[in-house]
Symmetry: C2
């Protein structure tokens, strides 16, 4: 034990080939779409070779699944991050995420949610990409329901679904309309729905 003194993953780019592939795949898949990106492009941009990819991942499909799991993790961080700033205030937590999303999604070049995009690129429910993405979305739906219950909404499950529609709408509309798109009203619409569900 206590042998490895410092594998010191130098925070510059090199690192392990598998990591570089994973990061490069993340960027390319997200920005250009999954089907649009070939393995050749990934390895060349990552500065590695194809055998390295296939030593780390069984297939392209597995790499895609890994990308989506990474995406889900980042999403969860983004979604849960505001919780710390607003303890015991689910409404404020949700609105914090919503307002940040509204800003991002109304900027030019926004590419939406990688998980939502994956469901559309892989409609076949047997495909690993589809499955990982759907699982993540179901977790989000559950999370929203929990928050809406904590807000003492009259119809927490309906409110949660309404908010989910607005979120998903923002993800996709951000790509369609760019700067000044409909996502700009996301915050006020979520507030209206919450108010309509919590007022006396």
């Amino acid at each position: 034990m206590r042998s490895k003194p410092a594998p010191v993953p130098t925070d510059e780019t090199p690192r392990r080939a598998a990591d570089r592939i994973r990061e490069t795949a993340f960027d390319l898949f997200y920005r250009e779409g999954i089907r649009a990106v070939g393995v050749e492009e990934i390895v060349s941009q990552a500065g590695v070779t194809k055998p390295s990819l296939y030593r780390a991942f069984e297939s392209k499909d597995e790499l895609i699944a890994a990308y989506l799991r990474d995406y889900d993790q980042r999403f969860c961080q983004r979604f849960e991050a505001p919780a710390a700033e607003h303890p015991d205030d689910p409404k404020a937590q949700l609105l914090a995420y919503v307002d940040r999303l509204a800003t991002r999604a109304s900027r030019d070049g926004y590419r939406g949610c990688g998980l939502t995009n994956a469901v559309i690129e892989y409609p076949d429910s047997d495909h690993p990409a589809h499955q990982v993405a759907v699982q993540s979305k179901q977790a989000l739906r559950e999370r929203l329901r929990t928050m809406c219950r904590a807000m003492h909404a009259r119809d927490p499950d309906d409110l949660a679904d309404g908010i989910l529609l607005l979120l998903e709408g923002s993800y996709v509309s951000g790509q369609t309309f760019g700067e000044g798109g409909p996502a700009r009203v996301l915050g006020s619409m979520v507030r209206r729905l919450i108010d309509a569900s919590t007022q006396a």
Copy 2:
């Protein structure tokens, strides 16, 4: 003149090769995704050959654009159809479309909006598919604004964008969640937003 006695486009399947290609491409592109479908699959399923495709369409990209124009046309019909049943009542017109959409989008196997899907599959704004789809969405946004103004909403443009978010959210969530998905609440959420914008 008056020569052609009856080219009689027999309403069975055969007809012109170009038409068969167009119909088959519509179904395949919509159900399986555009990038997922090759020209070979289209022509073989249409019962024609590749040269027939390339005599009628300059390229696959042009066929895709044609598909999206067809889709836009069908969408407009669906969206405007309820208008006849509710003349001079924009709210009823909109809700009629919304309620039908909610039903379709909460059924299993729903594949969303072909135009929205196309924007996600082709994020590059130079691509014809992207352009056709975005144009259609901009027209929808304008149409919604007009309707919201006619409803005498306090903030017609904001309300229109809010409704647009709910619509787009239904398109994509329908694919993610299938039966019993969030789109089931679309009707009540649209009503809440309208009410919140039109009440005294």
